[in-house]
């Protein structure tokens, strides 16, 4: 579905040259939920923007369904980290969700239906008439998610979407994303710096190294696909996987060249 091959991105500007991503290669299968973890500043957002067609890579290529990505591909939705700044403050919640659909010249009745569905699935039916700035941070992020859902994407990219919401809301939103992924069969690439979140959500976890960034490790998360906050997080297998990812991330932060052999379980990259 999504192929990232030899991706490299160097920011050039005003005498400063930042190599945000050195050489990234991975694939995400159709209908897969993959989590990307890595230390902050390692180029996760850069990677996501390249995949979304919002940034041109310096080298390498990105293929979506076999076709190279050169601009924002149709059928892809992005939920940004800065949710507060990604909603249009001059539009009510309903209009925010509806705007991308309007742009597709979708009939009004169908638009209404999709907006109502999307807002219902994030539990914000009553907020349709409110302005984004009248809502709490968690609710704003749910609006951004609803907008992505109403768009009916084949691929959903999420950039640390829950980094700034409180723990309870975060747990709810995690279950929401997993539930939607299972219900709709979409492909999800989920970026986070939270190891627990990555293990809880993902079918597969990619650990990125610190900058200059490469894929350090890929782990299949062989937890049952029925997960819930209460039981999954205390399961012994969860703890094991968590420890493995943790060790990798720590090693990545230290910039260790070779992964510590004792915590590494060889996992074939699922595609």
């Amino acid at each position: 579905m999504l192929d990232v091959r030899g991706l490299r991105k160097v920011y050039e500007g005003a005498g400063r040259r930042v190599e945000a991503v050195r050489d990234l290669t991975f694939t995400v299968g159709a209908g897969e939920l993959v989590c990307l973890v890595g230390p902050s500043g390692c180029g996760k957002t850069t990677l996501l923007k390249c995949v979304a067609g919002l940034l041109a890579p310096t080298a390498g290529e990105i293929l979506l369904g076999g076709r190279p990505v050169t601009g924002p591909p149709p059928g892809m939705a992005v939920v940004f980290q800065e949710y507060g700044r990604s909603l249009f403050p001059w539009m009510r919640v309903g209009e925010n969700v509806e705007l991308p659909l309007k742009q597709q010249r979708m009939p009004k009745a169908r638009r209404r239906e999709l907006v109502a569905d999307a807002l219902r699935s994030v539990g914000l039916t009553d907020a349709a008439g409110a302005y984004p700035w009248q809502l709490s941070g968690g609710m704003q992020q749910r609006v951004a998610i609803a907008r992505a859902l109403a768009y009916e994407p084949d691929v959903l990219l999420m950039d640390e979407p829950f980094a700034a919401v409180d723990a309870q809301t975060r747990a709810d939103l995690e279950d929401l994303v997993r539930g939607l992924w299972r219900a709709r069969g979409i492909t999800v690439l989920f970026v986070t710096h939270d190891i627990d979140e990555a293990v809880y959500l993902g079918e597969r976890v990619l650990v990125l190294s610190a900058s200059p960034t490469v894929v350090r490790e890929q782990l299949s998360i062989d937890l049952p696909s029925e997960r819930d906050q209460l039981h999954t997080r205390v399961a012994p297998r969860f703890a094991e996987l968590r420890t493995q990812v943790y060790a990798q991330v720590q090693a990545a932060k230290r910039g260790a060249a070779v992964p510590a052999a004792d915590v590494r379980t060889p996992t074939p990259p699922a595609t």
Binding site: V78, F80, F88, P89, W90, Q103, R147
Partner: protein, 259 residues
């Protein structure tokens, strides 16, 4: 309920005080140039009859409206182009800075050379003075569009005209309104000045006429009427702004509550 009443009292206190001071200070005045307020007020209805309002005030207002509207359209359109493209900005900025620094009234004689002394000249004078604050503020507003918002729109395929309408102009609207507000007071000033130069009707013309005929109370009523007109226009402007920028005031109030 108590709050708006208090605000009204506070808003009216100073005007009432000033008028009272004027009333009593001028009450016994025998100076022809400074007639008692009482005389001015009794002259007012005699001077500003329905006929005069139609023949002098209406033409003034129409010129103001035409010049202001032209400046608004031109200023927003050019400002959007200049604000959107870095290259265009680099080319235009020095010229803009120069033109902005030219005091608009000196344009009157120049424009008279090209546009004669008719309505076209007055509309052109008003437009050429009003356009700068609109243009410069629009440039700033368009430049300041949040990059996250911009990328979100691009990601969802909102480009071209839709992007301009739903993202760029809406995002710049607070600055555009700042420019429009400054332009309104400049417009009123230029309306009066252009009519003082060469005209056969209009508010500015009438005030100068009265002064030349030593109809001093009449002159003062004209000034009073101008003040009232300016006040009324600014009230209308505020009502429009409150409607269009409701979201902006709400956003600011909410970010003040939780910074």
């Amino acid at each position: 309920m108590k709050r708006p009443a208090l605000r009204l009292v506070l808003a009216l206190a100073l005007p009432v005080l000033l008028v009272t001071v004027w009333w009593f200070a001028s009450a016994g005045s025998t100076d022809v140039y400074r007639p008692p307020l009482r005389t001015i007020l009794t002259t007012f209805p005699d001077v500003w009859t329905g006929e005069r309002l139609r023949a002098d005030v209406l033409p003034s207002l129409l010129r103001l409206l035409a010049g202001y509207a032209a400046a608004a359209v031109l200023g927003v359109a050019l400002g959007t182009v200049i604000g959107s493209y870095r290259r265009v900005r680099a080319v235009c900025e020095p010229v803009l800075e120069f033109l902005r620094a030219v005091p608009p009234p000196v344009l009157v004689p120049v424009i008279m050379l090209f546009a004669g002394i008719g309505d076209t000249m007055k509309v052109a004078v008003i437009a050429s003075g009003c356009v700068w604050p609109v243009l410069l503020n629009t440039v700033e507003g368009v430049r300041a569009v949040d990059p996250v918002l911009s990328e979100t729109a691009r990601g969802y395929g909102i480009t071209g005209a839709a992007r301009l309408r739903h993202v760029v102009l809406r995002s710049a609207s607070p600055q555009i309104f700042t420019g429009l507000r400054q332009a309104l007071s400049i417009g009123i000033i230029l309306m009066v000045i252009s009519e003082m130069f060469a005209a056969s009707n209009g508010l500015g013309f009438t005030i100068v006429q009265f002064q030349r005929q030593f109809a001093i109370p009449g002159m003062w009523t004209g000034i009073l009427l101008l003040g009232l007109l300016g006040f009324l226009l600014s009230v209308v402007f505020q009502l429009v702004e409150r409607r269009v920028l409701g979201w902006y005031h709400g956003l600011r109030a909410s970010s003040r509550r939780s910074p």
